[in-house]
C-alpha cells in the first residue's frame, strides 16, 4: 500500500458555502449591499462574525457547520474547505445589551448612541440602525423623552421578563420540533432510558435557558436561571452515581463468514461500524447534557439546594 500523506494546512479558500435567510440577500428592498462585520460576542466578549443587511436594517448571526475531513463539490469544482455557514436573523438587542448594562451601572438615563460605542468594534454603533433596535429597546430599558431626545437606562426587571419570553418561545419550538433535550439515547441497540414524551417541562426550560444563554454573559445567564426559578445544578461528577453509568461497549457482532451476502446484489453491504448515538454523546463528554442526566438519576439535588 502506498504511504499516506500528511495533511497540509488549508491556507487558501476561494469560496464559502452558505445557507442564508432570504431576507439577507433581498435585492429588492435595499440599495446598498449586506456586509459581514465583526462585533463583540455578548457571551464570550471575543470577536464574532455577524452580518448586517443593506442599510444596516437587519442583523444576522453567522454560524459554521464544520466536521473534520470534509470537502465540497460545487458544480464542476472542488472546494477543500467543507464548512457550511448558516446566516440566520438575529435579535440586535443581545449585542446591545452588554453596553447598556455597563452604562446602567452609573444609574443615569443616557442617549443610546452614546452608550453603544466600542473602540475595538466600531461597527457596533450600526446596530442602532437596525429597524428592530430602537423599536424594542423598551424590553431592556426604561425610557425617558425630553423634547425630541430619548434617554434610556438599563432595567434588569424588564430584561428578565423579556428573556423569559424568549426562553418560553424557545421551549415551544423545541417541543414542536421534537428536539431531544435529554441525553441522546435514540438507538435500537439500547434500552431507551427516557423517551421524548417523558421529558419534564424543567428539562425543556433548562435546555432553552442554555440556548438563550449563548447570547448572554455568564452573570446574566445566572440571573435568568434564578428568574426562571430553576435551581443551579451541581457538577455531574458529584451527583451522578457511578454505578448507573451506561456501558460503553457495543461492538456489533459480525459473523465471520456470512455467505448469504454473496447471493444478491447487496453483496457490497456490510453492517456499518458506527458508534451509536448514545456512545457518541457519552464520548463527547458534553457536560451540559450530563447535568440533565444527573438530575434524572438523582432528583434530590433540587431538595438539597433549598
Amino acid at each position: 500500500m502506498a504511504t499516506k500523506k500528511k495533511r497540509t494546512p488549508n491556507a487558501h479558500t476561494s469560496s464559502r458555502v452558505v445557507i442564508a435567510a432570504d431576507s439577507a440577500i433581498d435585492t429588492q428592498k435595499h440599495d446598498s449591499d449586506p456586509a459581514f462585520v465583526r462585533l463583540r460576542n455578548p457571551a464570550t466578549d471575543a470577536t464574532s462574525l455577524y452580518m448586517l443587511s443593506g442599510g444596516d436594517l437587519q442583523l444576522f448571526e453567522v454560524k459554521a457547520f464544520e466536521e473534520d475531513f470534509h470537502s465540497w463539490f460545487i458544480g464542476q469544482t472542488v472546494q477543500r474547505d467543507g464548512r457550511l455557514l448558516f446566516v440566520t436573523p438575529m435579535d440586535p438587542l443581545y449585542l446591545i445589551l452588554p453596553y447598556l448594562i455597563k452604562s446602567g451601572k452609573e444609574g443615569k438615563f443616557q442617549p443610546v448612541d452614546q452608550v453603544v460605542m466600542d473602540d475595538e468594534f466600531p461597527a457596533c454603533s450600526r446596530l442602532l440602525s437596525c429597524t428592530r433596535s430602537l423599536a424594542s429597546l423598551h424590553h431592556i430599558t426604561e425610557e425617558k423623552e425630553v423634547g425630541t431626545q430619548r434617554f434610556h437606562r438599563y432595567s434588569q426587571e424588564r430584561t428578565m421578563n423579556w428573556l423569559k419570553k424568549k426562553v418560553e418561545r424557545t421551549v415551544s419550538v423545541l417541543k414542536a420540533r421534537n428536539i431531544s433535550v435529554g441525553e441522546r439515547v435514540k438507538s435500537t441497540t439500547y434500552i431507551t432510558m427516557k423517551s421524548e414524551s417523558d421529558y419534564r417541562d424543567e428539562d425543556y426550560l433548562r435546555y432553552a435557558h442554555g440556548l438563550v444563554s449563548e447570547y448572554l454573559s455568564q452573570h446574566l445567564s445566572k440571573d435568568l436561571l434564578t428568574h426562571l426559578q430553576l435551581p443551579e445544578l451541581k457538577s455531574p461528577k458529584e451527583t451522578e452515581p457511578p454505578s448507573k453509568k451506561r456501558k460503553l461497549t457495543d461492538k456489533p457482532v459480525e459473523a465471520e463468514e456470512d455467505y448469504t451476502k454473496f447471493n444478491s446484489a447487496e453483496f457490497a453491504r456490510k453492517p456499518p461500524k458506527k458508534m451509536t448515538a448514545a456512545q457518541k454523546s457519552l464520548a463527547k463528554g458534553d457536560k451540559t447534557g450530563m447535568k440533565t442526566m444527573s438530575s434524572f438519576f438523582s432528583p434530590k439535588v433540587k431538595a438539597e439546594k433549598k
Binding site: 458555502v17 449591499d33 465540497w72 438575529m90 419570553k165 424568549k166 424557545t170 420540533r177 461500524k273
Partner: protein, 136 residues
C-alpha cells in the same frame, strides 16, 4: 486600528446571474481547489435506491441523501471578487452559484436523522425562536 474595521461586502445583485448548481458534501478532505469532473464521474455513477444514494469515490463506498435548505433559506456560494491581499483590506464577495438542496455523503454509513448535518438544519427554526421579536 484593529482588523475589526475591515468590511466584507456581498454584492447581492450577482444573485441574478448566479447559476443553480448541484453541491455535494464529501466525507473526506480533498486537498484541492479548482475544476473537477464531477458530473462525469460522481453524478454519472451515483445510484438512487429507495432510502439512500450510493456511489464510490477513490474506491471507497459512500452512502448519502439529499437535504433541502430550510424554508425561507437559500444556498449560496460566495466568492471573493478580488483576492484579498491582507486581513485589513476590505473585501467584496459575489454570489457565484445558488442551490436549494445539497447531497451529503457518509463513508459507508447509511444516512440517517442523527447525522450532524441533518440536525444542523434545525438551527434556522430555533434561531427564529431565540431571535424573533417578542410581543409586549
Amino acid at each position: 486600528m484593529s482588523r475589526n474595521t475591515s468590511v466584507t461586502r456581498v454584492d447581492v445583485s450577482s444573485v441574478a446571474q448566479a447559476q443553480r448548481v448541484p453541491v455535494h458534501l464529501m466525507p473526506c478532505e480533498i486537498e484541492h481547489e479548482g475544476p473537477a469532473h464531477v458530473s462525469e464521474y460522481l453524478t454519472a455513477t451515483t445510484k438512487d435506491c429507495k432510502l439512500e444514494k450510493t456511489v464510490s469515490f477513490r474506491g471507497r463506498g459512500l452512502k448519502g441523501q439529499e437535504l433541502s435548505c430550510p424554508q425561507g433559506y437559500t444556498g449560496l456560494v460566495l466568492k471573493d471578487i478580488n483576492e484579498p491581499s491582507s486581513d485589513q483590506e476590505d473585501r467584496l464577495l459575489r454570489v457565484s452559484s445558488v442551490f436549494d438542496k445539497l447531497t451529503y455523503w457518509n463513508l459507508e454509513t447509511p444516512p440517517n436523522s442523527d447525522d450532524a448535518v441533518v440536525m444542523a438544519m434545525d438551527w434556522p427554526e430555533l434561531a427564529q425562536a431565540i431571535h424573533g421579536p417578542v410581543e409586549d
